[in-house]
Structures are given as structure tokens and as C-alpha cells.
């Protein structure tokens, strides 16, 4: 049922006609996020310019029980920003100012539409940076990072968005504006900020974020090492950890992923190796050099066939370019693919990869593996051809892999979120009671269920429907974003 004209007029009276998109053709630009298989054209798209206008929009929604979906850059991979039928999308890209960089307190205050990379750009002059680095960081926004509790390659050592957000200005689903969090680590009672972080837009809309900034490390050392097997690479990771070293990042790619990435970037990866490991250390000169020597020794001990050490910032960037291009590059070796985001305890990496290989053979579909080896976050890429009718088999294999991760004591998602994509798998990871209590918490924030409904928690309506297959996001095709 279309929105009443009266509601539409209230939005126009608040924002002006130019900031209310009701033309279905223009609204189509908002029909999906990075989970491009699911699409819903929103009834209206609202583009507020201030926090007060965001609150005004939400108050109108609340008054008329109109569901709303907040949207940043739309790079999310789980459908968190998928519009809701008969609802509105509130786009936050116009709230894109860096409000303050405060080097003395080592923090920055940002509007939600500021991109992740802009934070570090604004802080760099003070020798500071913002640690979480999702690979879409060129375009993804801090508001979206808050919603998804984004990670990145370096979260092994530095943690996730939740560990770096001090406080937020938030518009709750009834339109009230509150502050969650404080100016320090001291809290005022239960940590509602921590609940909001990673809530995938279901608990309200963030209109300003205060983040911690870290001092840029004195040195960074990066190496690329080839191994005769993924298992040998995995053993290296275990030994590094057992040696008491916390690397800034440890990434692994298998032969198929390397083939795709090297073909796309020519970054210098070996085409004939079954596995490659990227290890990065950072810190003070003394510690970094000592630990780097130890890492090299561990690599040798496990039959490393080639060891390449980045000798310059350009070489380091090159190694990372190859690694970060892996997702999109898979498009070169397969017409279609689905990306997964499961997590297993690190010690079960070899086992889970073996099982994935078995499942892959049984399904008759190839799976390329790219993963954050340090924290057990896998990104298996299920390769298939829709034209050859393999879609259903690929989706089944993909879901099987996610659920295998849960079975091994892990999680459905390490960083991409649940959204609509994995909501129906939530019962494999959580019991009925767990999910019911999460729903009660949600009702505390959003009693009318108008804030991004149908996401994160399974609903009969959602789970009766079948999501579409993965297709590359337009931004990804344009080379503007990459996936990690």
C-alpha cells in the first residue's frame, strides 16, 4: 500500500521537495546494498542534511508507523540496508562532515556519512590514524561501520569498530535524540553503546560518532610467504601465536584465490604455490625487528618455498593490493560467485578447509579461499555459473559452509553481518530463547518494529522467501570498492 500523501507532504515540509526522492526511477539507486541479489525499490528516499532533520524524519515515521531503513554508502554485504516495502530509506550521505579532530585527546567527531578512509586522512597530519580498516574503506562510511561493527585485516591486533567508538549521538526509533557512551571508558550504567554497535541499523540511526585515534606505529613490516600446503601455512599461524606474537594482520590465500588475484593485479604472488600467507607486524623498531626475525624463522621451519619481504611502502601496498583484490578478481575465473563470512576457532582452520574441499567436490563446484587466518575468519568464494543452472547448488553449498563454521564452534559472520542474508541461519547458532531475548532488547529500543524491520533476526516472512544469488555491486564493478 503506498504511503499516504499526507505523510509524503510532511517529509517535504520538513526537508524540502529536493531532498525527498519519490520518483521510482531515481529511487532505484537505493534498491539494494552490496548483497545485490536482493532488491526492493523504496517508496521514498529521504536525504536529510542535519541530525535534527534525521530526528524529524524518524518522528514522522514513528507517528505514522512507517518503517525506515538507514543507509550509508550501501557497501554492506548482508542486506542490512535493503529497503523495506512500503517504507522509506533515510540516506545519510549528506551528513558527511568531520566535525572535529582533537589530537590532544586523540579522538575525532564525525557525521555518519564520513568515509572510513577520510577519518585517517583527517588525523594523519597529527601522526594519528583510525584503526578499523574494512577493505571497502575508500567508500564505506563510519555510520555503516557502527551499524555493522566493521572489522578489517588489522582487527586481529587492534579490534573492531566497537573497540574504537567512545560515544555516539543517536536518533532512537521514536525520534528522540540521545547520547550513548561517554567521553572516557567510564560508563553510566550498562553499555548501551556496545549493544547499538553492530545492531545493523535495527536500534536507531547514528548522527555523530566520536572515535578513538591511535598513534601511527613507528614501523610496519610485511612479508609474503609461499607454502606447499594450506595446512603448512596454518601451522605457521599457530606457531606465531604460540610464540606470543600478536601480528597486525595474518592473511592466507589458496591457489585458486591467488590465481584470480594475481591475474587481476600482477601484484607479484606466485602462481604455482598451493598457499600464500601475508604477515604484517607493526610497533616500535626494537620489538618489530625482533618479532619479524622470529616470524621468518617460523616460516622456514614449515617449508616456506618463497619469502618476499616488502622493502618499501610501495611493495607493501602491492602485497595488500593483491590480497584485497581477491574477491572481485574471482570474477575473472568464474561467471558468478557467492562470498561467505564464517568464523572458526583458529586451531580448526585446517580441518574446516579440508571439509570445505570435500563439500566442494561433492557439489561439483569450485571454492576459492581467502581468509583472515589470524582470527579464523574465512571468506570462501563459491564459484558457479548461473547460465549453467548451478545457482541453487551454489547457494546450498554456501549455506552449508556457513553452518559448518557454527558446527565447529564458530560464527555465521565475522564482519559482514547477518542482515537478510543470514537471518534464516541464525537458529543454527542461537537457541530459540537467545533469539527471543534479542528480540526483547530490540523491543526496548523499537517497540513499534519500524526500525529496519526484517533484518538480523529470523522472521517467518523472510525465511519463507529465498534470497537471490550474489551479483557484483555496481561500485565493485566500477573498481571503487573491494571485498575482503
Amino acid at each position: 500500500m503506498p504511503l499516504a500523501r499526507r505523510v509524503h507532504d510532511e517529509f517535504v515540509a520538513l526537508l524540502g521537495a529536493a531532498d525527498v526522492i519519490d520518483d521510482p526511477v531515481r529511487a532505484r539507486a537505493y534498491e539494494c546494498d552490496g548483497l545485490t541479489g536482493s532488491r526492493v525499490v523504496p517508496e521514498l528516499v529521504l536525504l536529510p542534511r542535519t541530525a535534527d532533520d534525521v530526528a524529524g524524519c524518524v518522528r514522522i515515521c514513528a507517528r505514522h508507523r512507517v518503517p525506515f531503513v538507514a543507509r550509508g554508502a550501501g557497501t554492506g554485504l548482508s542486506g542490512g540496508a535493503l529497503p523495506v516495502a512500503d517504507g522509506v530509506v533515510i540516506g545519510l550521505n549528506r551528513l558527511n562532515r568531520v566535525l572535529e579532530v582533537d589530537p590532544e585527546n586523540r579522538r575525532a567527531v564525525l557525521e555518519p556519512g564520513v568515509t572510513n578512509l577520510e577519518i585517517t586522512a583527517a588525523a594523519a597530519a597529527h601522526g594519528l590514524y583510525y584503526a578499523p580498516d574494512p577493505s571497502s574503506q575508500q567508500v564505506c562510511t563510519i555510520g555503516g561501520n557502527v551499524a555493522e561493527n566493521s572489522g578489517g585485516a588489522h582487527c586481529l591486533k587492534y579490534g573492531f569498530t566497537t573497540n574504537h567508538v567512545l560515544s555516539m549521538e543517536v536518533v532512537l526509533p521514536d525520534g528522540t535524540q540521545v547520547t550513548l557512551g561517554t567521553d572516557s571508558a567510564e560508563q553510566q550504567g550498562p553499555d548501551l553503546r556496545g549493544v547499538f554497535l553492530g545492531s545493523e541499523g535495527t536500534l536507531g540511526i547514528v548522527t555523530a560518532v566520536t572515535v578513538r585515534l591511535l598513534r601511527t606505529p613507528e614501523v610496519m613490516r610485511t612479508l609474503l610467504a609461499d607454502f606447499p600446503s594450506v595446512a603448512a601455512g596454518g601451522q605457521v599461524v599457530s606457531d606465531i601465536v604460540a610464540a606470543g606474537i600478536v601480528p597486525a594482520a595474518v592473511e592466507m590465500m589458496d591457489a585458486l584465490a591467488i590465481e584470480a588475484a594475481e591475474g587481476a593485479t600482477g601484484a607479484g604472488y606466485s602462481l604455482d604455490t598451493p598457499a600464500a600467507l601475508v604477515v604484517e607486524l607493526d610497533g616500535t623498531v626494537e620489538e618489530c625487528e625482533e618479532q619479524f626475525a622470529l616470524v621468518k624463522e617460523i616460516c622456514d621451519r614449515h617449508g616456506c618455498t618463497r619469502l618476499h619481504i616488502a622493502g618499501s611502502p610501495e611493495e607493501r601496498a602491492n602485497i595488500w593490493r593483491g590480497r584485497k583484490a581477491a574477491f572481485a578478481a574471482v570474477g575473472r575465473i568464474s561467471p558468478d560467485y557467492i562470498v561467505q563470512d564464517g568464523v572458526v576457532p583458529r586451531t580448526r582452520l585446517a580441518e574446516v578447509l579440508e571439509r570445505i574441499e570435500e563439500m566442494s567436490s561433492a557439489a561439483g563446484l569450485r571454492v576459492a579461499n581467502v581468509f583472515h587466518a589470524g582470527d579464523g575468519n574465512l571468506h570462501p568464494l563459491v564459484l558457479f555459473s548461473d547460465a549453467e543452472g548451478q545457482t541453487e547448488r551454489a547457494e546450498h553449498l554456501s549455506a552449508q559452509i556457513a553452518e559448518l563454521c557454527v558446527e565447529m564452534g564458530g560464527s555465521l559472520s565475522g564482519e559482514h553481518g547477518i542482515g537478510t542474508d543470514k537471518a534464516c541461519s541464525m537458529p543454527t547458532m542461537f537457541g530459540e530463547d537467545d533469539l527471543a531475548v534479542m528480540d526483547r532488547v530490540r523491543a526496548g529500543f523499537d517497540p513499534d518494529h519500524i526500525c529496519n524491520p526484517g533484518k538480523l533476526l529470523p522472521t517467518p516472512r523472510l525465511c519463507g522467501e529465498k534470497p537471490g544469488r550474489y551479483r557484483p555491486h555496481p561500485l565493485e564493478e566500477a573498481g571503487l570498492i573491494e571485498r575482503l
Partner: protein
């Protein structure tokens, strides 16, 4: 389950906790080691107390994954001893762990020590929780993997909850390696000078694990570094150079006075020594004090409710304060403190003030945009526990109503807010 007293239940399993919640009508208080019994709002009289101290021990430790799941009543001190055998630790140095504080208690009170500068507090170390709600529902969130965004992060809701949503019965923690070497450097001076040192330190690449000022005549800045056995001396040298005249290396026991001022009534010396050995610098023992090598090591105004500090006739009270780091020193300068520990880089301080000044402290902290909560104080002191209510109070009440509609748990802890 044994009944320690007519109104105290002492469950030994998560299931027994649930049974206790279901079988006991009325208001329930939750206790662990009792080290924060006097913190925050004074608990209203309860119909029964659920004592979780028998719900103790490691459930699963996965050394290779650096995670451990424990029963909530496990004393952190004991956990650290077990983890140390594997070269691992919970990277939390809250002072009251020396007195037997439990994992659940530290989570519920959002307590943290000096190393929160780098490792954060319990909120940053807990990766999963199981909680029993008022209706007997056992709710689990998170899991055994560090990286996990599936579902709401309910563990955060428990952090700082003082049990208001129900007893946490199991906690999964991420672990860190025990550093190969630890160095501590001290330099005497007033807080202003310490804050200036810390500003330069944080702009340097030296990566301090903790930087805290302890009051005295004139007071002492303590800085902790962690690193490799062969490499740390060089970095310590750089730190001494950066801090300049008067900076000197001291033993880890130099932190003893800091712990004594922030952790509440002091403990038995042998316990403190065990904790220092297992977890690094957080001892409170008298022997450690003697070797502290910091200014005025004997003058420790104890925040023990039985032996209050402060002006004669006015019982002293301990208030925990947080604000933007650069606002901390000017804020503290205006408070009638008799003892202070302050983190110029974290903005967190613990102050001992006359009981009659607590309300004034709350006002001054709020005016600086900060937050404050009353910790240890004499039983007789009638002072507000919290500063002004947060803007999200209505939201907090709504979540409370969802999870504990009959307000059975932790009544009084958030007085005067709710």
C-alpha cells in the same frame, strides 16, 4: 545447592542459578566475592541473595585459540594462575582482583585497571556471556571466537549492569600472551607535570601499556612498558630519556600504592604477591609497598569503609571519575581529594574525598562533561551514588522493563536514576 544462610542461595551450576531464580519469589540480590559490595547505589533490601562464589572454575581453555570460558564466579586471580602455565593471561589489571574479585563481578561493575589504556576493559575482553533472566530464560550471546558479529552483543549490556538484568553465569574471554618482559618507570611531580609528560609520551612511538599518576608529595607518574627480553631495555632507555630528569626504573611493585588507592580495602600480602606474579603489576601488599620506590609510599589513605579517610569526623568516600583526558587534570585540581590515582591518557581517575563532598564532586565532573560513580564508602554515608542521569535513561528503563519487568534484580543499584 547448599543454603549458607536462610536468605542466601549458593548455586553450584548454571542450572541451579536458574532454579534459584525461578523458585525464589521477590527481589534478588546477586553477589560474587563481595569486593564491590559498597560500589554504586546501595542495594535495596532483597528477599534473597544469590551468591555465585561456588559457581567457579574454568569450563574450557583453548590455548591455541587464546580463549577461555569460565563460570562467572571464578576469581580472576585464580584464572590468571591457570592461564600463566600456558604463557597466557586475561589482560585486565583491575586492582581488586587481588582481593578475589570474580570475572562476573568485574564485568558487572565495568571495572578496569591501568592497562585499559591499551587492552580496554572487560567489555573489550569478553566475547560471550550466558545470563539468567528473571523469568528463568537462559540467554547466550557471542561465542568462542574473537571475531563475531552475529546477533546483538548482549555481553556489552551486562558490562556495567551491576546485575540489573540478572546473574551472568558463564563468560567467554579472549586472552593475550604474557609479555616476555615488563618495565616500569617512575618520575615524581604534580599532576600537571605528569599530564604534560603523558601528552609527549602518547605522541611518541613508545607504546606505553599504562600511564598513571598517583597523588603524594608531590605525586608520581608511573609508566609501564611490555616487550621482549632483549628489546625492552632499549625502549625503556628511550622512555627514561623522554621523561627526563628524575625518571627512574622501578620494580612492578611500584604500582602497589596505585592499586591500594583504586582497589578498595587492602588484602593479604601473599595473595597480592601471587597476583603480581601471575598478572603483572597490580599488587597491594605491604612488602611490595616498601620496595615501591615512589614518593610517600607509606601514606595510603585506605578507602576501607571500616577505616575511612578524609577530614577528621567526616567519613571518606571513593569516587570513580571519567572525562575527556585533557580535562582531567584541571577537574581534579578543583576537587577536595585526599588521595588520587589518575590516567592522564585515559581520562579515568579514582579519588578519595570527604563523604560530605560527594555531591559536589558529581556536579563538578558533570560540568566537565564527565561521569562519576561512588565506590567504597562507609555504610553510614548518605550520598548520591551517581551523577546526573544519562540522556538515554528512558531507553535504559525500557530495556530493563523488557528483561526484568518486575524489577527483581539489583534494586537500588542505579538510585537515583531508577
Amino acid at each position: 545447592m547448599t543454603r549458607a544462610a536462610p536468605t542466601t542461595l549458593r548455586p553450584t551450576s548454571a542450572k541451579e542459578v536458574r532454579d534459584a531464580v525461578l523458585d525464589t519469589p521477590g527481589r534478588l540480590a546477586i553477589s560474587g566475592a563481595g569486593t564491590a559490595r559498597h560500589w554504586a547505589g546501595r542495594p535495596a533490601e532483597a528477599d534473597a541473595t544469590i551468591d555465585l562464589s561456588a559457581l567457579s572454575g574454568v569450563i574450557t581453555h583453548n590455548p591455541g585459540d587464546m580463549t577461555v570460558s569460565v563460570h562467572a564466579g571464578t576469581p580472576v586471580r585464580e584464572l590468571q594462575e591457570q592461564l600463566a602455565e600456558h604463557g597466557q593471561r586475561l589482560a585486565l589489571d583491575a586492582a581488586r582482583t587481588d582481593r578475589g574479585a570474580t570475572v562476573g563481578g568485574l564485568l558487572a561493575t565495568a571495572d578496569a585497571g591501568p592497562s585499559a589504556l591499551v587492552y580496554g576493559g572487560m567489555r573489550d575482553l569478553v566475547i560471550g556471556t550466558t545470563t539468567v533472566l528473571a523469568d528463568g530464560t537462559m540467554v547466550r550471546s557471542g561465542g568462542h571466537v574473537i571475531k563475531n558479529v552475529a546477533g546483538y552483543d548482549m555481553a556489552k549490556l551486562m558490562h556495567g549492569s551491576y546485575g540489573t538484568f540478572g546473574p551472568v553465569v558463564e563468560v567467554v574471554l579472549r586472552l593475550h600472551p604474557v609479555p616476555k618482559a615488563v618495565a616500569c618507570v617512575a618520575v615524581d611531580g604534580p599532576l600537571d607535570a605528569a599530564a604534560a609528560h603523558v601528552q609527549r609520551l602518547m605522541a611518541s612511538p613508545l607504546e606505553p601499556i599504562a600511564a598513571e599518576w598517583v597523588s603524594g608529595e608531590p605525586g608520581t607518574l608511573l609508566v609501564r612498558l611490555e616487550g621482549g627480553t632483549d628489546t625492552l631495555p632499549a625502549r625503556t632507555g628511550r622512555l627514561l630519556e623522554l621523561l627526563g630528569d628524575g625518571a627512574r626504573e622501578i620494580g612492578p611493585e611500584g604500582w602497589a600504592r596505585h592499586a591500594a588507592l583504586t582497589g578498595g580495602p587492602s588484602s593479604r600480602p601473599e595473595q597480592a604477591r601471587a597476583a603480581v606474579a601471575a598478572a603483572g603489576p597490580a599488587g597491594t601488599s605491604a612488602t611490595a609497598l616498601a620496595g615501591a620506590g615512589i614518593a610517600d609510599p607509606t601514606a595510603v589513605p585506605g578507602p576501607d569503609p571500616a577505616a575511612p579517610a578524609g577530614a577528621a569526623g567526616d567519613p571518606g568516600a571513593v569516587v570513580r571519575i571519567g572525562c575527556a583526558p585533557v580535562r582531567l587534570a584541571p577537574l581534579l585540581a578543583g576537587l577536595p581529594s585526599t588521595a588520587v590515582t589518575a590516567g592522564p591518557a585515559t581520562g579515568v581517575a579514582t579519588v578519595t574525598v570527604p563523604g560530605s563532598a560527594v555531591a559536589e564532586v558529581h556536579r563538578a565532573v558533570a560540568a566537565a562533561g564527565g561521569t562519576s560513580v561512588l565506590r567504597d564508602r562507609p555504610d553510614t554515608l548518605d550520598a548520591p551514588a551517581w551523577g546526573p542521569a544519562p540522556s538515554a535513561l528512558a531507553l535504559l528503563k525500557a530495556v530493563k522493563t523488557q528483561l526484568d519487568p518486575e524489577a527483581r534484580f539489583a534494586a537500588g543499584r542505579f538510585e537515583p536514576w531508577m
